[in-house]
């Protein structure tokens, strides 16, 4: 919950709510990009961000993203984050 996980922003999904689709370790998740938005949201597409509990909090470069993911996998945190995302989807589905 505190470490965050790197994801790549692949599309803007909702301009007004400042939401974008991010790809996190092969999994797609809608995230809020208000904290990293500067100018037109389209400019974020293709960029990497550290994502904390569904919010892109900081833009990072690809190399940093890769290193961070590696460290998170080492710590078991990457798996945990992906499981939490799946749990969130399950909660929306009713459980």
């Amino acid at each position: 919950m505190c470490l965050g996980i790197p994801g790549q922003i692949v599309a803007i999904t909702d301009e007004t709510r400042q939401m974008a689709m991010a790809e996190v370790s092969g999994v797609r998740r809608e995230v809020n990009v208000a904290c990293v938005a500067e100018g037109a949201l389209e400019g974020l597409v293709g960029q990497w961000a550290l994502i904390h509990v569904g919010f892109a909090m900081s833009l990072i470069d690809e190399d940093e993203a890769e290193k961070t993911l590696e460290a998170l996998r080492d710590l078991g945190e990457a798996q945990e984050a992906l499981e939490q995302m799946a749990a969130g989807d399950a909660a929306l589905a009713g459980e």
Partner: protein, 380 residues
Amino acid sequence: MKFASEFRDPKAAKVLLAEIAKVADRIGATKDKPVHIMEVCGGHTHSIFRYGLDKLVHEGIEFIHGPGCPVCVLPRARVDECIEIAERPGVIFTTFGDAMRVPGTKKSLLQAKADGADIRMVYSPLDALELARRNPEREVVFFGLGFETTTPSTALAIQQAAREGLGNFSVFCNHIKVPEPIKALLDDPHMCLDGFIGPGHVSMVIGIHPYDFIAQDYGKPLAVAGFEPLDLLQSVLMVLRQIAEGRAEVENQYARVVPEHGNPVSLAAIDDVYETRPSFEWRGLGEIDKSGLRIRAQYEAYDAEEKFGIGYATGRREVEEAEGCACGQVMTGRTKPVDCPQFGRGCTPEMPLGALMVSSEGACAAYWQYGGARAVEPAE
């Protein structure tokens, strides 16, 4: 060798370790008279154990594990209050998974869920918002938990709910701040800390200056750090060098993610939605002045404490800590987890008694997971 496989750049780590040893020797740090460096953040504690950094660094350096795991410092009374809300008819109670197993006075959220309360683990407060949209006949409550890293997320979620006029969404706010408990530790006469490693992701939001008082008023060095092993070693070296040179400054080891002044959008959202509570209770540390946040009157409709008349909205209740639990001493660096009489006996990750055993970021769980278990004889 474990060392070589786990460091992406073992050569860089060796250079850093050698340099750390040199400076430690220069300031006369020994096993018996060590330099005490507190890593404030639970994520750092986890990393230190995972990579065995406490064993790799010069023996004159002792890591003191700080109160920086928001799940661990949650008092039992707050868990009880969560359950009280969750058990109200019509409520969907949503929480980060980390909080599910924290023991309350009688039960945890996990047990309450087993007993029939509609408690759902979510990844993000945005999931809770979506649940509220999809279930207009239900009251959806989100358990807002965490330091400055997660505080903006609930602030932005509340702002979004307000924009949409979602009347069935509220947040049970337990957001807490990092600088204030550090101040409380520094004011403790038993304090023996020589320097700090600051939580990088908190500073990503608040910047590095909220720590200036540590250097200026208390004369202790601090380095804001990332959580990878090389980040941690580098920040240990930065703190040691300051000690060796008689400096006390706030340095930024994690500049690639941490802007000096933080994230303006996050800070504006926090400021808009939250205000500082006069004081807030921390497990093991007691009430700490100005250490917690509450929702401003302007957003009262989204404040679960007001909506359900619970918690600080009703005045305080005292709740005793579990007997024989040394969480408080461990959190202030006075006791090592293995020296707690309950460690590995009445308290294990499967059956946690104290909060530090619940989350993988808790000092006791980290000790247990990475070999601390070996240091304790099995219970008879």
